[in-house]
Symmetry: C2
Subunit: 132 residues, 2 copies
Amino acid sequence: MHAVIQFTQSPIAIPEAHTVSREIGAIVEFHGIVRELEQGHPLAGLHYEAYEPMAVLQLERIFQQLHTQSPVAEVTFLHRLGWVPVGHASLYLRVRSSHRAEAFAFCSAAIEAMKRDVPIWKLQRPLPPDAC
Amino acid sequence: MHAVIQFTQSPIAIPEAHTVSREIGAIVEFHGIVRELEQGHPLAGLHYEAYEPMAVLQLERIFQQLHTQSPVAEVTFLHRLGWVPVGHASLYLRVRSSHRAEAFAFCSAAIEAMKRDVPIWKLQRPLPPDAC
């Protein structure tokens, strides 16, 4: 399994695939977008922070664990940090595998595990965008 | 729910989103790619055929049924027909929704239902590509 894990302060730019294989039969992509309403309150955006060294280690561990149950060829994980306006992506996850069941299982489980175990925080009362 | 269903003889070109909403929090995309090995036999590609009027009706029905369990804002379904070489996409499915659980559930269930109930066939011993 080839894994790419990146944090960025810029808008997420989706990279090309890193592995070439004629046995990739399924690609699942997930985009997590900032919504305007959070628990009924309108927002202009969210401010994301991460403890990056620990986050990368935890994500590597999560991906290796998931790979034992749902073997996949490649996973690409991009997370935007700092101010992310409503309508923009904070998270992009792509999984490439031979079969779709593994790709779907890996992708959705990776997000659940990330939310639970990875030190990434969203601040719902951020500074105004022009102050970030 | 806004649904787009298209069959094409050309390579799949991913369209822009059809709905604008500040309440989209999750986008799940699936690409089904032709693999070289099908039950151990190397292929140059597959030839897809569909009975399009019935396929569109069945897909509309499937999407409406799934929407009652997993409400989503938009679904885009594109299927390539004719000769599809190894490494190219035969299917593209995109689901946009407020929450990721519904998007994942809708997307994976839609593919299962399509494989089971929609008159789309793949021919494993097609004519050579230059004859298609």
